[in-house]
């Protein structure tokens, strides 16, 4: 645990959001996005610890907790937990709304999104996230603009798909 701790600390002062995890009530990881370089082993360790910590919390508890020297901001939507790690100076409430905006984007794109959509279209979930957040910072906060970018990409896919079937 000492090395992991150190490794995260190194980036401590440098980065806004360190990572975002989506996991189910059963503890299954559905999406992981890391904005700091960590080894696979450490990522697994962090995920395991954090999933356990968050799942152990009761419904009415507050959405923030201190974990190692990071702040964890999480919120549950239906069967999915959205969980972000931010650094000490970062704004918890705005992070909570980053989560909400991402959920809105998924919802709009898939049309009333559910866990299965994210399982079967995991690549789409990543693409949408990249349009919205880059390097751990909000890139485009307008819902309209993000969806426009994704739809344009889908259009390109349709075209190539049609070609592919010909």
């Amino acid at each position: 645990s000492f090395t992991t701790h150190c490794e995260i600390r190194t980036y401590h002062r440098m980065c806004g959001m360190q990572f975002m995890l989506l996991f189910s009530r059963q503890g299954k990881l559905r999406l992981q996005k890391w904005y700091v370089p960590l080894s696979d082993k450490e990522k697994k360790k962090i995920t395991r610890e954090l999933v356990q910590t968050v799942l152990a919390r009761k419904p009415k508890m507050c959405s923030f907790l201190e974990w190692r020297d990071l702040k964890i901001v999480y919120k549950r939507y239906a069967s999915l937990y959205f969980c972000c790690a931010i650094e000490d100076q970062d704004n918890e409430l705005i992070t909570l709304e980053i989560i909400h905006r991402y959920v809105e984007l998924l919802d709009k794109y898939f049309g009333s999104v559910c866990e299965l959509d994210i399982i079967f279209n995991f690549e789409k979930a990543y693409f949408i996230l990249d349009e919205f957040l880059l390097g751990g910072e909000a890139q485009e906060t307008s819902k309209k603009n993000v969806l426009k970018a994704i739809e344009q990409a889908d259009l390109l896919q349709e075209v190539s798909h049609v070609k592919n079937c010909e």
Partner: protein
């Protein structure tokens, strides 16, 4: 199967995911995955060239398998191939795979960078964005090297699309975080700042993040961003919420951008320009006002977004710490949140108030909420909120409310969550010490801590109370009386026994006048706990007993009986047995004067930063601990008990060696003497107490060790000035220069030894990159094994750290190991090498024998090569007692009545090595008139005889 499958669905992938989901067990899942991996591998290796779609599908399956938590060791090449596909969908999957699974495989990185370069130059904004996202996601050094100069150009070019600018800005931000040295600053910086004026709010949002990161690194280069940021912020906070269209979030105008702008302004002090400054103040007032307006929506998103901006504004107000009215207003608005129905807001209000408490302008305003915060401590259901309440109480504590806060924390401690008990204990201990007006309150508080939460009272805490009692003679009598009373509790905590044992051992005499606490009563009370305690505590109690023998001659016989009992003298624990044997012996042979010297009261501890505070800082991380030591202390005048600091700071850093009577071969007062290798360690309270302030050794720095091994022995002259002084003693100062003092304390048992090396920083500046290692010359390598434990790389000014060396004597030896020390002092690298006084005679065990036995063996060792004799002139006055002490210190038993001439000295002992034992007899004949000695050594090995003769003959 999901109902929605937008865009280009990959049927094979969906089937595979369904299969995995239908697996009933982990084993079935692994089986299915292995089958799929084999299938993909054969497709990739097959003769038939795969079309782009299949390649994409298989790469996507591999990605899915990886995200499930399995290792993937192939497919990278196929993913890289996809990058250069001109079909967007294939390229996109290729980039996703690379982003998630890239490893610094050099061949691939070159290919990936090539593909990225092509896309960046394609002038196709969608392709450019994919490439930029990939760089931002991977952020490796190789990519920084390849693109760090290209991206700024894209960012500021006039014809770049807005969405590409946004990606480029954050891409540059990421590269700047991972490889700041590779991101060149240049003429583009001014143009980046002007992105704050961009019409597109998305571009402004991304650019603000980038500028904040860059401004943290070089604030001067981005100073012009202050006025632009204030102007932008002002326009946002005064806009009607529909003005910003899609950037309005639940009736809040551009909350993300507002937060980022406020964050950027926290890189700078308040603006110097008066107009700008008042415009910013207006903005902040507007934000505070808006937060008070009735909500425009009942949705939690509205309240969160609005308050996110409010909290960031308050952070800026605290950061500036210059507008008393704003600070007090902020505090009052946060005060309303303290009782808000939203748990999140209560949490954040408590957190934010912690920082407000450290400002002299708002400290008093924060204090007015004390009752609410105490109430939160008692009623909050969420432990993380209660934790914040504890933090806030700690931060708002000063002399005026310390007693109330400490009392509340103590009462909360009785029911507190286990997870935060230790931290509360530390905080109470610090506050009690810091704000103690009279030290009786302090002692009471710490004893209460031990009573309520004994298990959570760490060594630092009870060490500290002992340090303070020893350093303050006005509280010693009270402490003795109080621990004496506390020890009467039927189930008192072991930590109390430790404190009680130590304090009564030192100051029991102060209460011995009262017949209810007579020496015998004190001893019986302590001893009644003895059998319930762990070994380290028992060891401490034994030391307290020997101190009692000195303090109270009238209980000497009682204590000797206890020490003499089989349960002590034959205790299975070597450490306890050792103490019992030696303390008993000491009490029998030493005169009252010697006892009084050896067992005298502990000298005052050098006063440094409280070790508890250090521990709390370590626990919380330096940034997270509200500093109760800052400027406001002067405002409230809370510097009362620093008087002992000043008196003790005058003395030089006290080394172990100074604290111990080093001229005696075996100082019994405060150190367990001969310890077996297995039981030695940090479990010795008395030894540790002398070293309270040294932080625990950190993991060794590999790099430093490598360098010291390489460079130190070659370039530095080895100091051996004090080497011969240690032939007949084990403790003392080995080396000293203007910066550093090295003290030693060593213990040997048979062929094993342990040396405690104490490095004292004599300066007021930190030593950095401190390392020390031991090297053995070639000849010594197989003969003596020295294992050096790691030592903390930083030694604070005036501080001392300890290093432990474990030694094993394999066979007899002549050379000595060298201690190599390296550290940085004020930028200069210091190299010191000292010959370490480990000599063959250290592994002596004395042997008692009769005159008859002696002469019989003497004759047996009569072969010419077995005897070494030396006749030499006396270097010191020829004093019989001194000579006796030296021979004893040399390690042999002194045999009386063996030599017919009573002026001669005869000794015997056995040298223990791993390979063998070497019996050894010696005879020293002084000739006082000629001021000469004749020394004769006989052992079964000529090399041993020679070495011992050389060593001892230097001593007289």
């Amino acid at each position: 199967m999901p109902a929605v499958s937008k865009g280009d669905g990959m049927r094979g992938l969906a089937v595979f995911i369904s299969d995995i989901r239908n697996c009933k067990s982990k084993e079935a899942e692994i089986k299915r995955i292995n089958k799929e991996l084999a299938n993909i591998r054969s497709k990739f290796k097959g003769d038939k060239a795969l079309d782009g779609y299949s390649k994409k599908k298989y790469v996507c399956k591999l990605l899915f398998i990886f995200l499930l938590g399995h290792d993937i060791d192939f497919g990278h090449m196929e993913a890289v191939n996809l990058l250069s596909s001109n079909k967007y969908t294939e390229k996109q999957i290729g980039y996703l795979f690379i982003s998630v699974l890239v490893n610094s495989n050099s061949d691939l990185i070159r290919l990936i960078n090539n593909a990225i370069k092509n896309d960046l130059n394609s002038r196709n904004p969608t392709f450019m964005n994919l490439a930029l996202h990939c760089i931002a996601n991977v952020g490796s050094r190789e990519m920084a090297e390849a693109f760090a100069s290209e991206i700024p150009r894209i960012l500021v070019a006039g014809d770049t699309m807005d969405s590409v600018k946004q990606s480029a800005a954050l891409c540059l931000l990421r590269l700047n975080r991972t490889s700041p040295d590779l991101v060149p600053m240049g003429e583009w910086t001014a143009r980046v700042v002007h992105l704050l004026n961009d019409q597109h709010l998305g571009v402004v949002t991304a650019a603000t993040s980038l500028i904040t990161t860059l401004a943290q690194k070089s604030p001067d280069d981005f100073k012009t961003s202050i006025s632009l940021a204030v102007a932008r912020l002002s326009r946002i906070v005064t806009s009607a919420c529909i003005d910003l269209q899609d950037y309005t979030y639940y009736f809040v105008a551009a909350p993300w951008l507002s937060v980022k702008l406020l964050r950027l302004l926290q890189c700078y002090p308040p603006p110097e320009d008066a107009a700008l400054r008042s415009r910013l103040t207006e903005c902040l007032e507007t934000i505070l006002n808006k937060a008070q307006e009735p909500p425009k929506s009942k949705k939690v998103q509205h309240s969160n977004a609005k308050n996110a901006v409010l909290f960031e504004a308050i952070s800026l107000i605290i950061h500036h710490d210059s507008e008393p009215t704003l600070l007090v207003r902020a505090c009052n608005q946060l005060g309303q949140f303290l009782q808000h129905r939203e748990t999140n807001l209560r949490y954040l209000a408590l957190e934010s108030m912690c920082t407000l408490a450290s400002s002299e302008f708002s400290h008093e305003a924060v204090k007015t909420h004390i009752e609410t915060v105490i109430n939160a401590l008692k009623t909050e259901r969420d432990v993380s909120v209660r934790q914040r309440a504890v933090d806030l109480l700690y931060a708002m504590c000063d002399r005026s409310n310390a007693k109330q806060i400490v009392a509340e924390m103590l009462s909360y401690l009785e029911t507190a969550d286990y997870s935060i008990r230790e931290e509360i204990v530390l905080k109470v201990a610090i506050l009690a010490e810091k704000y103690a007006v009279d030290y009786t309150w302090y002692v009471d508080t710490i004893l209460n801590l031990i009573r309520i939460a004994g298990d959570y009272v760490s060594e630092e805490v009870w060490y500290r109370v002992i340090q303070i009692v020893i350093n303050r003679d006005d509280v010693q009598g009270y402490a003795a009386k109080t621990v004496f009373e506390a020890l009467h509790a039927p189930a008192c905590h072991e930590n109390l026994v430790k404190v009680g044992g130590y304090i009564l051992g030192e100051f029991g005499n102060l209460i011995a006048g009262d017949s209810r606490s007579s020496p015998l009563v004190q001893f019986n009370l302590l001893h009644s706990k003895f059998h319930l305690c762990s070994v380290p505590t028992r060891a401490l109690l034994l030391s307290a007993y020997i101190k009692f023998i000195n303090l109270f001659p009238e209980v000497k016989a009682t204590i000797q009986d206890v020490l003499r009992s089989d349960s002590q003298l034959r205790n299975a624990d070597v450490e306890l047995q050792q103490r019992a044997v030696e303390y008993l012996r000491l009490s029998c042979i030493a005169s009252t004067d010697i006892l009084a010297t050896v067992l005298e009261e502990m000298p005052p501890f050098p006063e440094r930063e409280s070790s508890i505070l250090a521990k709390l800082k370590k626990k919380k991380g330096p940034g997270n601990l509200p500093d109760i030591d800052d400027s406001r202390r002067n405002v409230n005048g809370n510097t009362e008990h620093h008087e002992p600091t000043e008196t003790t700071n005058k003395s030089p850093p006290s080394l172990m060696a100074d604290l111990l009577p080093t001229n005696r071969p075996r100082p019994a007062s405060s150190s367990p003497i001969m310890l077996s290798a297995g039981t030695m360690g940090s479990s010795h309270p008395f030894t540790d107490l002398l070293n309270l302030n040294s932080p625990p050794a950190a993991a060794p720095s590999l790099l430093v060790d490598v360098f010291s091994d390489l460079s130190a022995p070659a370039s530095v002259e080895v100091s051996e000035d004090n080497f011969s002084r240690f032939v007949c003693k084990n403790n003392g100062v080995l080396y000293e220069n203007q910066l550093l003092q090295i003290g030693l304390k060593s213990e040997y048992r048979q062929n094993l030894g342990r040396m405690y090396v104490f490095y004292g920083n004599k300066t007021s500046t930190q030593f950095l990159s401190f390392s020390s290692s031991v090297t053995n010359g070639d000849a010594l390598k197989g003969q003596l094994i020295v294992h050096a434990k790691s030592v903390d790389p930083v030694i604070d000014g005036g501080a001392q750290v300890q290093q432990i060396l474990n030694m094993e004597c394999v066979s007899d030896f002549t050379d000595a190991p060298v201690l190599n020390i390296q550290f940085r002092y004020g930028g200069a690298l210091q190299n010191i090498a000292v010959k370490l006084p480990v000599m063959l005679n250290k592994f002596f065990q004395p042997t008692e024998m009769t005159s008859q036995d002696f002469f019989q063996r003497w004759k047996q060792l009569g072969a010419p090569q077995q005897e070494v004799q030396k006749i030499f002139k006396s270097q010191h006055p020829m004093d019989t007692d001194v000579t006796k002490a030296k021979i004893l210190g040399f390690g042999v038993a002194l045999l009386d009545g063996v030599d017919p001439n009573p002026a001669n000295f005869v000794g015997a002992g056995v040298i223990h090595t791993k390979d063998t034992q070497v019996g050894c007899l010696l005879r020293l004949e002084p000739n006082t008139q000629a001021e000469m000695y004749r020394l004769t050594l006989r052992t079964s090995r000529d090399s041993v005889s020679q070495r011992l003769c050389d060593l001892l003959s230097e001593q007289f």
